[in-house]
Amino acid sequence: MASVVFTPNLKRHVDCPDVVVVGATVGEVLERVFADHPRLRGYVVDERGVLRKHMTIFVDGRQLVDRQHLSDAVLPASELYVMQALSGGA
């Protein structure tokens, strides 16, 4: 099962503990997390399911490629980090 870690800055706004879930893609993994934490969805993706502009996700150290459909592959032992991109500061 893949482990998912969320930026601490997100935890200030919404409940999102680090979790271990099953999924073959980033989208599948996040859907499982959102099922348990529905308010988290809107903080990570918009209403189309697209990763928010200033968010980024790393899968085993590689930055997410498919920000539209989150189709990047996830392996059973993968580590996902849901992070803020530094582009959105101010």
Binding site: N9, G42, Y43, D46, E47, R48, G89, A90
Partner: protein, 364 residues
């Protein structure tokens, strides 16, 4: 008096009047609060947060700001396959909420709200913001795809006027997409920009409704056939229930963003002029408020208590507010200064000089 002040780094609550006004407490410190509104029917306070990374969120307080609860953010439906909707850069317009620039009680139904968003969708809630529905008749109007950003990258509904005569009549203003009115609670819409002129398009397009960039529109509560508009090109007024608009010429400038109208006198209104579109700062470093008492025939610059030397504050469209008594007004600036008056602007009192950039001011 209580005033809500939405800023780049939090929501501040002001208590008191005139010289006694002070910051009483703060909420969401560190967060980008872009708008604050109240609903006097149930006493609810609403705050719009734009987290940047994490998107736009709405919060409601039912205990005058002591505690806040996140409610639903308006969400656009999926764009239909094959539907052509391009922005001014030729890119596909994303049907996704990019910001909230207007929130008003929908007085036709208990607990109902109107919400104006970027990229130009109007939403309605009938459950105090627990859920939202896109007002499709306006979003699907054939000219809507021609709306574009004015003051932002996306078109924005920033003014919502619920008609005191009949709450199913609602006027919205869009930067940049004109002025629109529904007479059936949103089921159908007509543009109302006759007389407005845009100077930033070729001459033959200058009077097209969708090209008008009203910065702020208010309706007179006591004479609802009278509307005031601070437009990108200057100041306009309608005295015939939006059949026509006529342009006014204020001194020292007609450029600016906010407008406030007196609650019982449709001929009295306030503007806060900047030098010009090209120079968005006070003229010669002097902050003035322009007041007319004769329907815009003449304007008086009000200066007492305001900085008159090397001041470069800009006042955004939601950052001027008037109280129900018609005597008290408050305004805040992009450089974090906040002023109030208790005598219709004859004298101003400084409430704060070190706030974050101020986006919106509203009397509770």
């Amino acid at each position: 008096m209580t005033v809500l002040v939405a800023t780049r780094k939090g929501l501040f609550v002001i208590e008191g009047s005139g010289a006694t006004a002070r910051i009483a407490h703060a909420a969401f410190v560190g967060d980008n609060v872009t708008l604050a509104r109240t609903d006097r029917r149930d006493g609810a306070w609403y705050a719009v947060l734009d987290h940047g990374h994490f998107g736009v969120k709405l919060h409601r307080s039912d205990d005058r700001g002591a505690t806040w609860t996140e409610i639903a953010t308006p969400a656009y439906p999926p764009k239909p396959d094959g539907f052509v909707d391009k922005d001014m850069w030729g890119k596909d317009r994303e049907w996704a909420t990019k910001g909230i620039w207007a929130l008003e009680p929908a007085l036709d139904t208990a607990g109902a709200l109107w919400c104006g968003t970027l990229p130009g969708g109007l939403f309605r809630s009938t459950d105090r913001g627990a859920s939202w529905q896109l007002v499709e008749a306006l979003w699907n109007h054939p000219t809507r795809v021609k709306w574009n950003g004015g003051g932002a990258d996306h078109a924005a509904i920033h003014s919502i006027c619920v008609d005191p005569r009949d709450p199913t009549i609602v006027v919205v203003a869009v930067s940049s997409g004109g002025v629109w009115r529904t007479r059936d609670a949103g089921a159908s819409w007509e543009p109302h920009t006759k007389g407005m002129v845009a100077g930033y398009v070729p001459p033959e397009q200058a009077d097209w409704p969708e090209n008008q960039d009203p910065h702020c529109v208010v309706q007179s509560p006591s004479a609802p056939h009278v509307f005031w508009c601070q437009h990108h090109m200057g100041i306009w007024r309608s005295t015939d229930d939006l059949a026509t608009w006529h342009q006014l010429h204020a001194q020292p400038s007609s450029f600016g963003f906010p407008v406030a109208v007196h609650p019982r006198d449709p001929d009295t209104a306030w503007f806060i002029p900047a030098h010009s579109d090209q120079k968005r700062a006070p003229i010669t470093g002097e902050i003035v408020v322009s007041r007319t008492r004769d329907g815009g025939a003449t304007f008086t610059p009000l200066r007492a208590g305001l900085p008159q030397h090397h001041a470069y504050d800009l006042v955004l469209r939601h950052a001027l507010a008037i109280a129900d008594d018609g005597d008290q007004l408050a305004f805040g600036s992009s450089t974090g200064n906040l002023w109030v008056t208790a005598d219709q602007g004859d004298t101003w009192h400084t409430v704060a000089t070190n706030l974050p950039p101020i986006y919106a001011v509203r009397y509770v």
